[in-house]
Subunit: 343 residues, 2 copies
DNA sequence: AAAAATAATACAAACGTTTGTATTATTGTT
DNA sequence: AACAATAATACAAACGTTTGTATTATTTTT
């Protein structure tokens, strides 16, 4: 029959055993207030009748959904997926599920998604704000309403009620560029991402700092702040950049692995030898770099771990007592340089 | 203050305006049973008081959560992420959210996740069963309990109450191999995936069919059914395979883009020229193949669209009346061969 | 064997909505 | 002005749990 069956509920078990709903509920909870023999009868009957607790009713009653909302700027970037995996792993081990949404790099969608989270479906939020997010009032509002929050990636330190998970972008990028310099490179190009993102600002700072330290002039021409928000355009933007250079660089520091790969592709197409003529270093370390020929040297960022830590911070907040002020925590994770064939 | 604020609810608005909760509820719903002027007062007060509807209470009352559960075998495969994107897009446009879980290629985890979905958090399920899933009783059970379900990727046609979204794997793979044959290739290797998966079985069939049609002998040695469930091992398995070949093939048909890339990497390392000495063709088309040098020719599979269609089928089921038997629907999407540099 | 202590269970309110039915207020008809 | 028709609103049950308090049953103490 195609008829949707009525679910069995506590009441059904209670009626069959001639006990109260409360007793059934407590028996299933292993609450010591119910007699051993009663508990056994309840458990057995529940199993026999195919009882499944109703999560929604539980949530309404308890005020907890055990769901964590995760908001990322885009799905098609392995970094974010990897962070989500980390969040998911930690969350599941602590009896939480995750609900992932994408803000599609738009401030408006970000707000929209947060509003939907605010409707009580999630107990807390892990968020990477979009580059468009200048104003963080919507975040502070939500936090002041009691919504626990953790920020990662494009963090905004002015959001005072949230915890943060980050890496030291400037230092990492400094290390990458210094590494190139120590290989004797002098004309090092910089391929950055959207300028409004703090991570890319910081990586640029690190680049400048390294050049400055070693007294290498900064050629504006060698710097690209890649603006594309979608895969399809990044390719073209990078191709154009290299096509219009007058000095060819002897090394490239790319702010993401993907930029690094696109750079190598472009260079290989124009017959350059990597790493002999041009060395390339990326940022991220997400598997693709390893497959490419030549394999991409990069700054390895612990994406999975970032997710785990973010989940940990959030779940800690969820377990804090409500009437005590939350003190902001910032976790900074280490990166490391992984040398492969492209340098 | 760090105190978690009490949320404002319908009752608060009702009390402030001296009307009943029912009226407030209906006013916010734009139900014509409430007077225009009352509606306006309610809307205004709700806004003023910062009212946010409680999704959980709504769900309990209405019996719908407007959440779709999505269960995929693994996160770290762009194909699945792309399908999820498609699901997400269609779902959002129809006022549904998606809750993604991974079965981590394990039948036990699959069952566990489905049980958790069964607790009433989701209105329906979109699922790619794991290769371990021999027995589909757990799926039929769930369906017979009234849970709408759509299968994709590793579909199991014997699950009679679910809709299916698929491509014609055998035909597509036949086309790929035929393409290689028409390029004059005679020794075509096959890199497949886990044998238990129907998609890989079908792709193997297509390979054999094409060779047979053109009277090309099948060398067992040239066939690899890649068994690795994790990124790290696939690499090695493919490397080993090519290292132990006595005949070197003049072409390779790889059942996923990733296998195709790993194949190219391995061949390039051993000094082979692609496509001159060995042509390579992949399956999937997820962006990486385009970046690689040489760019990977492949069978392009409409992953995003598969997600959209799956969501569409599911939401259609959700809108069907419960007391009518669901008739199974199968949607088959077209693939196409995209020629790039590797052939 | 009665009183006290404790164990086991039942009752009922609460969580925040929706929605069918009952009630009251307003309008229209004659 | 009385009555019907209709519009607007209120009441209350329902969704399926949890949990504090009240009640009943059993055991212990004397």
């Amino acid at each position: 029959m195609g008829f949707k069956k009525r679910r069995v509920k506590l009441e059904d078990i209670a009626r069959k055993l001639n006990v109260s709903i409360a007793t059934v509920s407590r028996a299933l909870d292993k609450n010591p207030r119910v007699k051993q023999s009663t508990r056994e009868k309840v458990l057995e009957t529940a199993k026999m009748m195919g009882y499944m607790p109703n999560q929604i009713a539980k949530s309404l009653s308890s005020g907890k959904t055990n769901i964590i909302g995760v908001l990322i700027p885009r799905y098609d970037e392995p970094f974010f997926i990897e962070v989500c995996r980390g969040i998911d792993q930690y969350a599941r081990n602590h009896n939480y599920k995750i609900l992932i949404s994408s803000s599609r790099n738009s401030y408006e969608f970000e707000k929209e998604n947060l509003i939907s989270f605010e409707r009580g479906l999630v107990d807390g939020i892990i968020l990477s704000p979009t580059h468009e997010t200048k104003n963080v009032e919507h975040l502070n509002d939500l936090i002041s309403k009691g919504m626990p929050m953790v920020l990662f990636d494009n963090i905004r330190e002015e959001v005072s009620g949230a915890d943060h998970v980050k890496i030291d972008d400037e230092k990492s990028s400094f290390a990458a560029v210094e590494f190139l310099i120590k290989k004797g490179k002098k004309k090092i190009a910089f391929i950055g991402g959207i300028k409004q993102k703090k991570v890319f600002q910081d990586r640029y700072k690190g680049y400048i700092a390294a050049l400055t330290k070693y007294n290498i002039p900064v050629y504006e021409e060698l710097v690209l702040h890649c603006n594309s928000l979608h895969r399809e355009f990044e390719d073209k933007e990078i191709l154009d950049f290299f096509n219009h250079l007058s000095h060819t660089p002897d090394a490239v520091f790319a702010c993401t692995d993907n930029y690094g790969l696109l750079t190598m592709k472009t260079l290989l197409k124009t017959g350059k030898k990597i790493p002999q003529e041009v060395a390339v270093i990326g940022f991220g370390d997400l598997g693709l770099g390893e497959i490419f020929v030549p394999a991409l040297t990069c700054i390895s960022q612990p994406s999975f771990e970032m997710g785990q830590k973010a989940a940990k911070l959030l779940i800690n907040q969820l377990n804090e007592s409500d009437d005590v002020d939350h003190k902001k925590r910032i976790i900074q994770l280490d990166t490391k340089l992984i040398e492969r064939e492209s340098t």
